[in-house]
């Protein structure tokens, strides 16, 4: 393909495509869809940020109220203060006042994809009650109808609609000329079919890549994305390459379909059916595959197990035995004091530790499943261009299953760290109760409100750029393979 002949042809094709009303109609519709997708994403991100701000405020409020209540209880009072609601006591503060949250903040590119965010919340209240058998019970109940139909987010536009736009613009290039007989005229000229096809699909690719990547950038700007923290610009650049390659894949697929020389409508039919397979059917099959490769453990069996543990603890003198063993493990000397074994605070700590230990295999199985499903999803996604791009967008948005699995694990560790913070304090207060104020009904032996550990928020930048890079490489590779196959098939004219 010599450059001096290709470039003029390319220029002509560019002008032709840009003169067609269909091109502008398709691109305008696509731009509107991109802007709508970005705006729904921006609204979702704003709601997530508001939820996190509310959680932070709620935590601050609980600390503030605990301090105010502690100040009220600091002097003698006739009011009876139960141990479980005494903010001046480590147990009372931990179980009644403390309001701690595990949060998964949206990434700077969160408006790209709703991903799993609608079913996996980004704010989880840390609970120490028995109701939380597992970490992932938190859920913001919402409209089921909307969940079933799916969100109109940028990922939907880019993964589902962009290929259709590409098919509409490029799916009939050369095939339309075949239908009208113009191909015969072209074939009579001293140009090879590869040169003609290269110019036609190259021009379409240029216009579509610029329109899709530029349109997405414009939609992101209009939705309020201005500055990115360090590192995220690289992710965005890789995503732009992946998106350009995704467009390229579909343009190459158009060229391949046209190279069958079956005419315009047959090409369109083949392409739409290929789209339905790759974008809808194959991901659905992958879903079945993930369930088979990482089968979810039974939630009902886990509930039954949790009830068996609860039943065992309260049966006969099991509670006393468990509490005694728990005390021996922590303070060997204290175990001989029978009053400690009957102290409700100690009994509660021992009970929760017993539940945690006995149900640990179920929690581990659930966590392993979440991580396994995320890992298999990431591997399988590489086999489909649509799933690859969707995963890159979700990972950049921080709404992917992998990040949520890591978030659940971190939330579990956080709950344990908060428990570990309070446990020795509660124990020491029970073993050596110190009277601070003779006529006070509050215990007045805890005021470490400001040093309770906060949830360590993890970043998602590394996973985001890695996935974007892998997806970009995968899609570029596929684009080259399809383009190569099409080039091979355009060896001669089919007249």
């Amino acid at each position: 393909m010599s450059g001096w002949r290709f470039l003029p042809l390319l220029r002509i094709e560019l002008r032709l495509i840009l003169r067609e009303w269909l091109t502008w109609a398709v691109l305008a519709a696509l731009l509107a869809a991109l802007c709508l997708g970005a705006s729904t994403g921006a609204r979702r991100v704003a709601a997530e940020r508001a939820a996190i701000a509310q959680a932070v405020e709620d935590s601050a409020r609980s600390r503030r109220e605990a301090k105010e209540t502690a100040a009220r209880y600091a002097g003698p009072s006739g009011v009876k203060i139960n141990y479980w609601q005494d903010p001046t006591h480590a147990f009372g503060y931990m179980h009644y006042f403390l309001t701690a949250y595990a949060v998964k903040p949206p990434t700077p590119l969160a408006l790209l994809s709703a991903g799993q965010s609608e079913i996996q919340p980004s704010v989880m209240k840390t609970s120490f009650g028995f109701s939380t058998v597992f970490e992932d019970t938190a859920y913001d109940l919402t409209s089921s109808a909307a969940l079933r139909l799916g969100p109109f987010d940028l990922a939907f536009v880019l993964v589902y609609l962009v290929p259709l736009a590409v098919i509409a613009v490029a799916g009939t290039r050369l095939a339309a000329e075949q239908d009208t007989g113009i191909v015969r005229l072209i074939a009579a000229q001293p140009v090879s079919p590869r040169l003609v096809a290269g110019a036609k699909f190259g021009a379409a690719a240029l216009i579509l890549i610029v329109a899709v990547v530029g349109g997405t950038a414009l939609a992101l700007l209009l939705a309020g994305l201005r500055e990115l923290p360090p590192g995220w610009a690289t992710t965005l650049a890789f995503l732009a390459v992946a998106l350009g390659a995704y467009v390229g894949v579909w343009v190459a697929a158009c060229a391949l379909a046209v190279s069958l020389w079956r005419g315009a409508v047959a090409s369109l039919t083949i392409l739409v059916l290929a789209w339905a397979c790759l974008v809808v059917a194959v991901p659905a099959l992958f879903g079945l595959a993930v369930d088979a490769l990482a089968p979810p453990p039974s939630r009902i069996a886990a509930i039954d197990a949790s009830r068996q543990v609860q039943d065992a603890f309260y049966r006969g003198d099991e509670a006393a035995k468990v509490t005694g063993a728990w005390l021996v493990a922590r303070m060997p000397g204290a175990a001989v004091r029978p009053d400690l074994r009957e102290a409700p605070q100690i009994k509660r700590l021992a009970r929760d530790a017993f539940y945690d230990r006995t149900l640990a295999p179920y929690r581990a199985a659930m966590q392993a499943r979440a991580e396994g499903a995320a890992a298999w999803s990431a591997r399988l996604a590489l086999l489909s261009p649509a799933a690859t791009l969707a995963l890159a967008l979700e990972t950049a948005a921080g709404t992917d299953a992998g990040r949520h699995a890591a978030f659940l694990a971190e939330a579990s560790r956080y709950r344990q760290s908060v428990r570990a913070f309070f446990e020795p304090r509660i124990l020491s207060q029970e073993v050596r109760p110190a009277t601070v104020c003779a006529d006070c009904t509050a215990r007045l032996d805890f005021d470490a409100y400001d040093v309770v550990p906060d949830f360590p928020v993890a970043g998602a930048a590394n996973a985001a750029w890695r996935q974007a890079l892998w997806s970009a490489l995968g899609l570029c590779g596929l684009m080259l393979v399809l383009a190569g196959l099409a080039t091979r098939r355009f060896a001669g004219w089919s007249l």
């Binding site: 991903g115 913001d140 409508v265």
Partner: protein, 464 residues
């Protein structure tokens, strides 16, 4: 009739119809039987745990009634047998509620949480197949009805021989509808019958629900058959008709439903359950404070005209528990009630979104008829809450009516545990479900009527 018979014979000889039919039936059978197997296993597991929970409740050691109230139990949402055809809200709203003192717990463990990102691609159950694939099948069956004959020149021949376009259209449409109905309705009826015969159906009015559900799916298929026939009347070639049909499928089955969710979010944003919970906690906190408890205790003593709790004819702690719970019940009724009402209104509003696409209307009608809609979920949640309140009231009354003045703890035993009946959730009747879907059913009918109305002038003007 002879014309319909001839059309049916032609379709019977068409390999394309056999292939399409085989793929559709296999797809529905595999998905439906997979769902049936899962439902059977889950049903067995739930029955086992319900029995175990009852045994645990009745067999618990002697303890204070309030401790028993905290011990609680789990209750499970009864699953409709037709959930294997349309799981509706079931995977998204949770089926299990922990019943315990003080807490209006939400239903937990949604199957959708265990599903990976791919499971949201849109083909995870039979209703998805009906919503997405049946239209495609209808379009593939119908696109060539007139366009292929026009392309071959046989339409000119038929019209030239005096065939009237109206009866020709009616015969072809009837034949195609019969084929589509046999491909769609027979497998669905078979799957539904298997589910009804093998899964629990008590209170579900399962057979009327099944027939109504299948009838609606048939109407939905017929709508897309009409779209294909219209495309066939409009296009000059079969390929052109196919292009129009595929474009209609993408617009109506894929793009419009998502546009409906975006539009709904703008018109009627979803209420936040988290914010509802925050409001409930904010309301409860001052009521539960030590000072507030003290004030209410003094008020209770004053009501009985005594100054010492030991002089009361009832147990003060029990009395306070009753009052505290009544306050909590009122807060839950107000806040959770408002939340559920808003969510229900939003679900109903999706019925109007059926104007954008028959798929949106079908979803609303389908899950209501299958007994898996939001109304059934809300009914279960409130039934579970009523059961929780009944347990709390009984336990609190036991404490209140048996004052323990010597400081001895009150211990209750099996007699009290047996006084609590097992949880029995009855589904909402079919008449109630039908009342919920008036708008989307009317909209589905409107689609059918409008398409028929549009096709009449096109049939009259059909060109060879």
């Amino acid at each position: 009739m002879s014309r319909v018979g001839a059309e049916l014979r032609l379709l019977g000889r068409d390999a394309r119809v056999r292939w399409i039919g085989t793929v559709l039936v296999l797809l529905m059978a595999m998905t439906g039987l997979g769902a049936w197997q899962t439902a059977r296993q889950a049903g067995d597991e739930v029955s086992r745990v319900i029995a175990a929970e009852r045994t645990r409740w009745l067999g618990q050691d002697a303890k204070n009634p309030h401790s028993a109230d905290h011990y609680g139990l789990w209750v499970f949402r009864p699953s409709s047998p037709l959930a294997i055809l349309d799981p509706g809200t079931e995977p998204r709203t949770g089926r299990m509620v922990r019943i315990e003192a003080h807490l209006f717990n939400e239903a937990v463990y949604r199957a959708v949480q265990d599903a990976g990102p791919f499971n949201r691609a849109g083909l995870s159950d039979v209703s998805d197949i009906v919503g997405l694939v049946v239209p495609l099948v209808a379009l593939l069956l119908g696109f060539a009805a007139f366009a292929a004959d026009r392309e071959r020149g046989t339409l000119r021949l038929a019209l030239g021989n005096g065939a009237k376009p109206g009866p020709l259209f009616a015969a072809r449409f009837t034949a195609l509808t019969l084929v589509l109905l046999s491909l769609v309705c027979l497998p669905l009826l078979t799957l539904g019958s298997v589910a009804i015969a093998s899964l629990g159906t008590e209170g579900w009015q399962a057979w009327p629900r099944l027939f109504a559900w299948v009838a609606v799916q048939a109407v939905y298929g017929a709508i897309f058959l009409l779209v294909a026939m219209l495309a066939s009347l409009l296009a000059r070639t079969a390929r052109g008709a196919l292009t129009i049909s595929l474009a209609a499928w993408i617009a109506l089955c894929l793009v419009a439903p998502r546009l409906a969710t975006a539009g709904m979010e703008m018109v009627q944003p979803a209420p936040s359950y988290r914010e509802t919970r925050l409001r409930i906690e904010a309301d409860m906190r001052p009521h539960k404070s030590a000072e507030s408890n003290e004030t209410r205790a003094q008020e209770a003593l004053a009501r009985y005209g005594v100054s010492d709790p030991r002089e009361l004819p009832v147990d003060l702690r029990g009395l306070m528990m009753v009052e505290n719970d009544h306050h909590a019940f009122a807060v839950y009724d107000r806040e959770v009630g408002a939340f559920f009402a808003t969510l229900a209104a939003r679900e109903s509003a999706f019925g109007w979104a059926g104007l954008l696409s028959p798929r949106v209307a079908l979803q609303r009608v389908s899950e209501a008829l299958a007994g898996t809609d939001f109304a059934q979920h809300a009914h279960f949640v409130w039934s579970a809450e009523a059961y929780r309140r009944a347990i709390s009231e009984r336990m609190n009354a036991e404490i209140r009516d048996n004052p323990q003045h010597g400081g001895r703890p009150l211990l209750a035993g099996p007699d009290l545990w047996r006084a609590i009946p097992p949880f029995a959730a009855t589904p909402l009747p079919l008449s109630r479900s039908l009342g919920e879907i008036g708008v989307p059913t009317a909209i589905l009918s409107l689609w059918l009527v409008l398409l028929t109305a549009v096709s009449i002038p096109l049939i009259r003007r059909v060109a060879p």
